[in-house]
């Protein structure tokens, strides 16, 4: 199926941001993926046309990066970080819960097309271990019960909010965000500084500690 003219217009806007057109390729691939839920041959060809590359050159890039999917992804992509910390602090158990609950294995999609699942190798959320992602939005400090509840809510179309503020949409919507398009969610969750980010600052304030600053500056 050919991609929309709107995607082509947005691709050109992305290219215009860079000194050299080819630099836009990674965000462009996120964008074509947002339309089709995968990077299809049509998506590769559109990127190649717009950049004056061969489709083989674009395909070589699309197949290198794990976030580009060459098979259709479900409505939601659920990721479980299974690397230590997360794996040891509960990620392995969460993976077991997820795959049992959905009856699918790594890189597979449920029959109803609702969920794809992926084992993640470190999500840079070690202080929030164990971490899970839904459409790459973080669900920090997860446990098996919360995970089952999250899946049920997603399935029922109820609102699920990331622990970092944003409302969960779907895989394709996140891909537009990753392409750099404004999704209007930048202010969700204030500055996102939760007790984990504030652990040191809180301790310092409660115990009268601060960095000495010159010239009476605050």
């Amino acid at each position: 199926m050919p991609l929309s003219d709107q995607t082509r217009v947005e691709i050109r806007e992305i290219i215009a941001k860079y000194p050299e057109p080819r630099s836009a390729l990674l965000p462009m691939l996120h964008l074509v993926q947002s339309e089709e839920g995968m990077v299809s041959t049509a998506g590769i060809e559109m990127c190649a046309e717009e950049l004056g590359l061969t489709s083989a050159e674009v395909a070589s890039v699309a197949t290198f990066y794990t976030m580009y999917k060459r098979r259709p992804v479900g409505k939601h992509l659920i990721g479980v970080c299974v690397n230590p910390q997360c794996g040891i602090l509960g990620g392995d158990k969460l993976w077991e819960t997820l795959t049992e609950e959905l009856g699918v294995d790594n890189d597979e999609t449920t029959e109803d097309g609702e969920f794809s699942v992926e084992r993640i190798e470190c999500q840079a959320a070690c202080t929030y271990a164990p971490a899970v992602t839904v459409d790459w939005e973080f669900m920090d400090n997860m446990d098996p019960d919360k995970l089952r509840e999250t899946l049920a809510k997603l399935r029922a179309g109820e609102e699920v909010v990331s622990t970092r503020g944003a409302v969960i949409r779907d895989f394709c919507a996140t891909e537009r965000t990753l392409a750099g398009l404004d999704d209007g969610l930048a202010d969700s969750g204030d500055n996102n500084a939760d007790e984990i980010m504030l652990a040191g600052l809180t301790y310092a304030k409660e115990n009268g500690m601060s960095a000495p600053l010159p010239g009476g500056d605050e």
Partner: protein
């Protein structure tokens, strides 16, 4: 006397709008930039050199020196690229810095770009963090609307555009030359060095690649002075560092302190090991550095202090594991990671990570053979120093040290699966779930 915490980069994080220009300015943000723009670019470089600031991405290269390597008067465009591809197990400090204080990073980026005479700068953020990518995009729009980006910044005649760039899932892109290839729209594979990026980087033009924390801190150094900054820390490791403590501690999180603080002190601030357990091992600089034990708790957390005890400060984001954790299981997890992330360019890493991982899995499953303990050491020795970039070296690092410190656990791996020797459910930290 205990080393006190010194929040600098993190000190306004408890204010809800700390990420906006308005919130940042209210706290004196962009004062450092005004000072820098009143100076000659070379003097800014001198100030950063004098501060002793070293790269916070792990390698610890002196920042001012890196900036001074950029040839001037060469008629080529220059580029600044911020490495925000934070992906190594343990490392989780740059994500919070971009969420709560992106203006601080932008201020540092303008200062660095002015110093190296770049009119284009990039933030390369790993793809798996949409909340950070949207926050950085919004922060750049906010800064631009307030006259900090674009043409003639604050009437100085200096122009700068910042592009926020999302990656697509590849740890290797944290290696600076792989990052540059990726930013050029190619497969993210490392380049042969030399030439170094300072001479031939992005589009073969002079380029500085610096970590998020490094660039953020330059805003504070310009604001408060090199002398202020170098008054913290040690002679070889001056300054303040953002530590991220994770694992079996009561209060995991972000702790900002002078370099030279000890792990014993950091553990104390983090509430100590969870109730009823003892520290078993800790890894200070990301999974790529040798692990340490209780014996090393009083070593100063500086570049040289960690070298002295046989490891590396790296990202200074200690992972803490208590006595419920199998060392074999932990390092097998890390090797799964390196195997998954090897870019495939060079043979020792592409093949070697698979071999190490396969053998470790045998020990994890209780099916190791006695002679394979040496075979593993030999494999690691054949990768270390022989791979194209540091990823291969990193993959060869966990095993030899783990074997040295905990030989009995690998010997047990000849007959007993790690998950039988150590109940995995004893290590989990689910709230409300009983842990032994």
């Amino acid at each position: 006397m205990a080393t006190a915490l010194t929040p600098v980069l993190t000190r306004y994080w408890d204010q809800k709008d700390s990420y906006t220009v308005a919130g940042y300015e209210r706290n004196g943000g962009y004062k450092g930039l005004r000072k820098a723009l009143d100076m000659a670019p070379d003097d800014v470089i001198e100030q950063i050199k004098a501060s002793g600031l070293r790269g916070r991405g792990g390698a610890g290269f002196p920042t001012g020196l890196k900036w001074s390597f950029v040839p001037q008067g060469d008629d080529k465009p220059h580029y600044l690229v911020v490495n925000a591809d934070e992906s190594e197990p343990g490392a989780c400090k740059d994500i919070p810095l971009m969420l709560a204080s992106p203006q601080q990073l932008i201020e540092g980026m303008i200062i660095a770009s002015y110093a190296i005479r770049a009119n284009h700068a990039f933030v390369y953020i790993r793809g798996e963090v949409p909340h950070v990518i949207r926050r950085m995009h919004a922060a750049v729009r906010d800064a631009k609307a307030n006259g900090y980006l674009g043409k003639n910044i604050l009437g100085s005649g200096f122009d700068l555009e910042i592009v926020v760039h999302g990656g697509a899932g590849a740890y290797i892109c944290g290696e600076e030359t792989a990052l540059l290839d990726s930013l050029e729209g190619r497969r993210g594979q490392p380049r042969l060095k030399p030439p170094f990026p300072a001479v031939a980087g992005l589009y073969a033009s002079p380029t500085v690649v610096n970590n998020v924390e490094t660039i953020s801190m330059t805003s504070q150094i310009m604001r408060y002075g090199a002398e202020w900054y170098s008054s913290f820390g040690s002679e070889k490791s001056p300054g303040i560092k953002v530590f991220a403590v994770s694992g079996h501690v009561k209060r995991p999180g972000i702790y900002e302190a002078p370099l030279g603080i000890t792990m014993r002190e950091l553990l104390d601030y983090a509430g100590g090991i969870r109730e009823g357990h003892k520290l078993k091992f800790w890894v200070v600089g990301g999974s790529s550095v040798p692990m340490l034990t209780e014996d090393h708790l009083d070593a100063p957390l500086t570049y040289e202090g960690m070298e002295e005890v046989g490891t590396m400060l790296g990202t200074a984001t200690p992972m803490v594991f208590d006595d419920t954790v199998s060392v074999v299981r932990a390092i097998t997890g890390w090797l799964d990671f390196y195997k998954h992330e090897s870019c495939g360019k060079c043979t020792p890493c592409r093949e070697g990570t698979w071999w190490i991982d396969q053998l470790l899995h045998r020990f994890k499953d209780g099916e190791g053979k006695p002679e394979e303990l040496d075979l593993l050491n030999e494999l690691c020795g054949n990768i270390l120093g022989r791979s194209f970039c540091a990823l291969g070296d990193a993959a060869a690092t966990p095993y030899p040290q783990a074997l040295k410190l905990f030989p009995q656990e690998f010997e047990a791996g000849i007959h007993t699966p790690a998950n039988e020797a150590f109940d995995p459910m004893a290590s989990v930290v689910f709230p409300g779930v009983k842990t032994s």
